[in-house]
Amino acid sequence: MTLHVRAAHEERVIIASKNGPALNPIQWNALAIMFILVFMPFAVAFVTNAGSSADDNFKDSMESNSGGASLNSIWLYNGGDNLTADYQNLNPTLPDQFINCAVVQDGWCIGTQAPGVQALPLGGTSYAVDWRTPAPSALIYQSHFYPSSPGQYLGASGDDHYGWLLQSDYFPNIEQGEALDKMKFTFVDTFTSYVCDYSEFTDIEFNGYLVFNHDGRSKKVDGFTFETSNKYEHRFWDNSAAEFTTACQVGFEVKFDFAGYESLAISSFVGGGDWQNTSIEVHLTEFERADDRTFTDTLLPFAGDGQFSLSIEHQNINSITAGFVIRTSTLVLSVLTFAVGIASTNAWNPFKSFIGGILP
């Protein structure tokens, strides 16, 4: 049987043309590779980007509230370095519950294991105001706000993992029922300005992911990598000079651009866009300098013993249109892939008929 099939195949494998064989076996394999490496990626890119916006027309997720609304958030991870002993030496009289927050993991302060001291979430509630950063922002305590007395920050918090849990009052302007196409988080240490060519500004690289919590369940959206500078140049309100001024401060924007199907999956997960009952975790991990020097005391907007500004913006997607395009085009792609599978057998040979017909 095998011999028969092989014999039949031998007769069919070479396409005859007036000038001899048109495609040899190598070229058929090349055709297969082109399907996988050229056609398929383009088709998948079309499907995944269906409905996504190419522009960056972001809307403010936070409210502009100069009155100082209190917002709910906690630190989940504060860098990864364990400097508990150093802060204890610096501040021997500081209560354990503050020293304990030199290390925060998964929302719990675990710097010391002193019996009887309950681990505390590191609170970061503050004000939504719009004059510190271009978009409305909130002030959040920096990584070592609790264990460090003013001016005693040890200069580094780590390069491993920073994370925050933001409750829904951080993004009241994301309307119920909306599906998100992109989210942008801007982190800036607005309390310290530098000359714009300050030598400690540098390019950095890190990874990131978001976790959406709704109705007791969590959905992680990961795979984001970022390359940016820790220099944030912008115009802001200088209180002492009582005027807007251009400043170079430590900070950067982190933009999470979801594929169309991710937008739909997130929207579906949070109850069809029930943002009022959703919290979002922002995680930034594995920091490196682009110049390959050790990260150690590289400036980060959220590392320190003061406060930093966080603003949140978003861009939405038409979930009905995107859903239709994504599902329909995936179905078309499935039919096409199946057809290529059939066409790769002896049962149906449209390639050979087509190519044999167009070749001289």
Partner: protein
């Protein structure tokens, strides 16, 4: 899991290409074949992983993010892979 499937699939195609090249009188040395095959496999797998979102799309299909259409696509892709692997084993070319 998906990474391994893509590595396996691209490796199989690379083996098919190099095998055919050898049968046609090209890449006569074992070192040349090994080098060409490994290069083809690494480049194609790297391309699919790093420069396209093929892997994340397949992963999304697998976890149900695209609904029934995603599972249908996975079925078609599995069928295509099975046909090509069979063809490569039987005839040393993916499309016959």
């Amino acid at each position: 899991m998906i990474e391994y499937v893509i590595y396996f699939f691209t490796a199989f195609i690379a083996i098919g290409v190099v095998g055919q090249a050898g049968a046609s009188g090209l890449l006569n040395g074992a070192f040349q074949r090994g080098f060409a095959g490994a290069s083809a496999q690494i480049v194609s797998a790297k391309f699919l992983f790093s420069y396209t979102n093929f892997e994340t799309f397949v992963r999304a299909c697998l976890d149900g993010s695209i609904g029934l259409s995603g599972y249908v696509f996975l079925g078609s892709l599995g069928f295509l892979a099975a046909v090509w692997v069979n063809n490569l084993v039987e005839y040393r070319q993916a499309i016959i």
